[in-house]
């Protein structure tokens, strides 16, 4: 061993090295990439020294002191786990227990689909990972298909399907004039799409608009999807976080399931369990029968293997511990409701403040919209003014993360918004 190291040291000291020095970089033509429009906001916020700064950019929950939160149920789960588990590889499809609990949450505790083992499901790297795995699966097994994406949507959706090489089309969703849903155009787009098209739907708390179809509207959409034979893929990143009630937030999915759709679904535990950095999620695809679900699951695993081999164990353990223990699960339900309630409270506070300031504009949408984000009423130029003059950070599309609003900063925020919009 000693002589091997000595030889190496000798080699490292050599000056005339064949070839390497005379070459230029392979990467001279690599352009600097634009900052991620969402995550870049927090970077800029952190760099700002102003004491008044407010971060309403990224959708990560903050308490009323503007601090990130680790849920009590999660802390307790971690205490129970720590020191006890080995760190062996999970199977490619991830933690079977975690996936079981995820499915119960999305499909219902007593779902027939679960009993009949008709759902192919794997643990995924949060919502992003679940969407990407589905996009790769779609590309491999329906190579001629496209994905219909709502306008607007979470910016990363476009990146995901693009990197999976699935062509994209859009469908109408947001209605700027009313700051609500453009239902008529949405239904037109659904009808005009070729039969059997793949659609991306936000199950609840649409990101970035906070505009969700009503229950009646979901029923109509589902009906039309049935006529057209469309494939509904639900991205559910906010279950529990929208209304405070996970069952209620899964309503759209349940309607589609009742109507017999064989849906796909991406679930994330980033927000509703505050497990952001743990990257825990689930991808599920409803199949005709158990045999098909085994086949589909095996193919999903084949896509996971060359991406990361098997998913991370820690976050999955936390989810399993929390959802698998009735006491911890109840605690979680309370804490989720607490987070949702605080956000709903901030919506009312922001709207009241703006109205009290005498703004002539309508701010109704702030309380009509649901979930983490508030959208509309701000142009990119106004957003720039908010950042440059008031040190308020949000994405340039005017999306405000209500989770970043507190009783301490809501008046400041309202005032600033009023200033740039009056």
């Amino acid at each position: 061993m000693a002589s091997r190291t000595a030889i190496c040291r000798g080699l490292l000291r050599r000056n005339s090295i064949t070839g390497a020095r005379s070459m230029s970089s392979w990467w001279t033509s690599v352009e600097p990439a634009p900052k991620d429009p969402i995550l870049g906001v927090t970077e800029a916020f952190l760099a700002d020294p102003s004491p008044d700064k407010v971060n309403v950019g990224v959708g990560a929950y903050r308490d009323d002191n503007g601090k990130p939160v680790v849920l009590e149920c999660v802390r307790e789960a971690e205490r129970r786990i720590a020191g006890k588990m080995n760190m062996e590889y999970l199977p490619m499809g991830g933690s079977v227990k975690m996936v079981e609990e995820s499915l119960k949450l999305a499909y219902g505790e007593n779902s027939d689909l679960i009993k009949e083992k008709r759902i192919a499901a794997v643990q995924a790297l949060s919502g992003t990972g679940a969407c990407r795995l589905f996009a790769d699966f779609q590309k491999r097994f329906r190579p001629d298909s496209q994905i219909y994406i709502p306008v607007p949507t979470w910016a990363n959706h476009h990146n995901i399907w693009r990197d999976a090489h699935v062509p994209q089309r859009t469908f109408h969703y947001y209605h700027p004039e009313s700051r609500g849903l453009d239902f008529a155009s949405l239904m037109d787009d659904v009808k005009n799409a070729p039969n059997g098209s793949f659609f991306l739907l936000h199950a609840c708390a649409h990101n970035p608009t906070g505009v969700d179809p009503s229950e009646e509207q979901w029923r109509e959409i589902s009906y039309q999807f049935k006529i057209k034979g469309h494939f509904p893929f639900f991205d559910m990143a906010y279950q529990g976080f929208a209304s405070g009630d996970p069952e209620r937030d899964a309503k759209a999915i349940r309607i589609f399931l009742e109507d017999g759709h064989a849906i796909g679904c991406a679930q994330s535990f980033a927000k509703n369990m505050g497990l952001y950095g743990q990257r825990v999620g689930c991808l599920s695809i409803v199949c005709e029968d158990e045999k098909q679900s085994v086949a589909v699951k095996s193919q999903l695993q084949q896509l996971a293997r060359p991406m990361y081999s098997n998913p991370p164990v820690h976050g999955a353990l936390i989810v399993t511990t929390v959802l698998g223990d009735p006491e911890l699960k109840n605690l979680w339900l309370k804490e989720v409701k607490g987070m949702a309630d605080r956000i709903i409270g901030m919506r009312y506070a922001l709207r009241e403040n703006l109205e009290k300031l005498g703004s002539s504009l309508s701010w109704e949408h702030i309380t009509n919209q649901i979930g983490m984000f508030c959208y509309g009423g701000l142009t990119p130029e106004q957003v720039d003014r908010l950042t440059n003059e008031f040190h308020i950070y949000m994405t340039r599309n005017g999306r405000i993360s209500m989770a970043g609003v507190t009783t301490g900063n809501v008046a400041y925020l309202a005032n600033a918004i009023h200033e740039v919009t009056k």
């Binding site: 990467w27 990439a33 990130p68 990363n156 034979g229 950095g277 589909v296």
Partner: protein, 424 residues
């Protein structure tokens, strides 16, 4: 809210393609992953004498998985720290972790690091680092051929193909000598087109355990640089092969020392026992700091649509250990103990075969290095050993030495002896 009519309340129109069928109705079940499938088969076997020599996960002398003491300590520190939150990491991962990982593989005094010429991003273990690197290359590099050794880890070709690269092979293993086919390697890399990417196992080649000597590495380096090929290192066993972190990184370091560019994928699965936490790093060594900065920005665009940002838990454990002098030292001791146990298993198996008079030259068992031994057994012999002796291994004849213990070596030796004498 259960469906009243499971046979669909609404009839789809006659023009719908599948008339209510799943859009994925024609999907066939994929074959089991050849490596991970071994453990699946092992778990199904009810025999009390079964032995799992499939996947490369370390086992103690008692056949148990091992969590390093220093890892448990780091875990405790983390769980007891009330200030710790679970926020998203940046796309590139935990900054401390990245810096420390680069130092680990390139050496703390590496000029490339000191000159800020290294772009490092946290990724999901070795697999994730390879995939991110490969996707970056597919997007930004002018050549999409990647030369990989014959044989290599089964997942390598899939990773590169999925990323959009085109795998080609260079000769590596010589079945006659059960060692390196150095002539074949040099010939094949010499005839590679200029600029082609070359995958190199930094140490403890998987599955063969056959590594180039120091002198051979220098020749490889000269050839690669003179042909303008781009080296991409897969370092999954640093410290695990010889027991020395520095020695196991020499191959990478001689390349970085010549001032040229390269990629390096690191995994902490084996050397820190963090398998399921999926901790790794991809580093791209560039000619200048400006280039490194642009490269890092583009790596983010690869990562964001894949999983947005990497998992925090495992990387926090690694950073905690690497930045603390005492914990680092404790780690190197535990790491050397794992490597030593494996080296001892090699010797014991060799001795057991010699004692049985098993026909053939089995010296490759002690010449090969790292977790795996490429036994040279053929698929029939392997199948025989599984059926008659309940020994589970991949069909290419690769055995994980980490799965052996003093207690089980005799059983394996018996099985090999029987296979070699009964099946040719």
């Amino acid at each position: 809210m259960e469906s009243q009519n499971p046979n669909h309340a609404i009839s789809p129109s006659a023009t719908t393609a599948s008339n209510g069928d799943s859009v994925f109705a024609n999907i066939a079940k994929a074959p089991e992953d050849p490596i991970l499938g071994v453990t699946v088969a092992y778990n199904k076997d009810s025999s009390p004498i079964k032995l799992n020599l499939g996947v490369g996960a370390y086992r103690t002398e008692e056949g148990k998985p091992l969590v390093l003491n220093v890892v448990r300590r780091a875990e405790q520190l983390l769980v007891n720290d009330p200030s710790r939150v679970k926020e998203y990491l940046p796309i590139t991962g935990l900054a401390d972790f990245n810096k420390l990982s680069a130092k680990l593989i390139f050496g703390a005094d590496s000029p490339a690091i000191q000159e800020n010429r290294v772009a490092t991003v946290q990724c999901l273990s070795g697999t994730g680092s390879l995939r991110v690197g490969a996707e970056f290359l597919a997007k930004h590099y002018h050549q999409n051929s990647i030369y990989i050794p014959q044989p290599t880890w089964g997942n390598h070709p899939k990773v590169f193909t999925m990323a959009g690269l085109s795998p080609k092979y260079y000769r590596y293993y010589d079945p006659e000598t059960r060692g390196l086919n150095f002539q074949g390697l040099l010939e094949d890399l010499s005839s590679a087109p200029s600029g082609a990417i070359v995958l190199l196992h930094a140490c403890a080649h998987n599955p063969t355990g056959v590594d180039p000597t120091v002198e051979q590495w220098e020749q490889i380096r000269q050839l690669i640089r003179s042909k303008g090929l781009l080296p991409f290192f897969d370092s999954a066993y640093q410290g695990f092969a010889s027991g020395s972190l520095d020695a196991d990184a020499q191959s990478v370091r001689i390349f970085v020392a010549d001032g040229g560019e390269c990629l390096a994928a690191q995994s902490y699965a084996k050397n820190m026992g963090l398998y399921g936490e999926r901790v790794g790093a991809l580093s791209i060594v560039c000619r200048t700091a400006d280039v490194a900065s642009r490269v890092e920005s583009q790596l983010k665009l690869v990562i964001r649509p894949m999983y947005s940002n990497p998992p925090i838990h495992g990387a926090s454990i690694v950073a905690t250990i690497l930045k603390d002098r005492d914990m680092y030292n404790e780690w190197t001791i535990e790491l050397k103990a794992m490597a030593d146990r494996i080296i001892s298993m090699r010797q014991q198996l060799f001795d057991a075969l010699r004692d049985r008079g098993t026909p053939g030259d089995w010296s490759h068992i002690i010449k090969q290095i790292g977790m795996f031994t490429f036994t040279g057994l053929n698929t029939e012999q392997v199948a025989f050993m599984t059926k008659e002796y309940h020994i589970y291994m991949t069909s290419d004849g690769r055995i994980s030495m980490a799965g052996l213990s003093s207690r089980t070596v005799p059983h394996l030796a018996d099985a090999i002896h029987a296979a070699v004498t009964r099946i040719v």
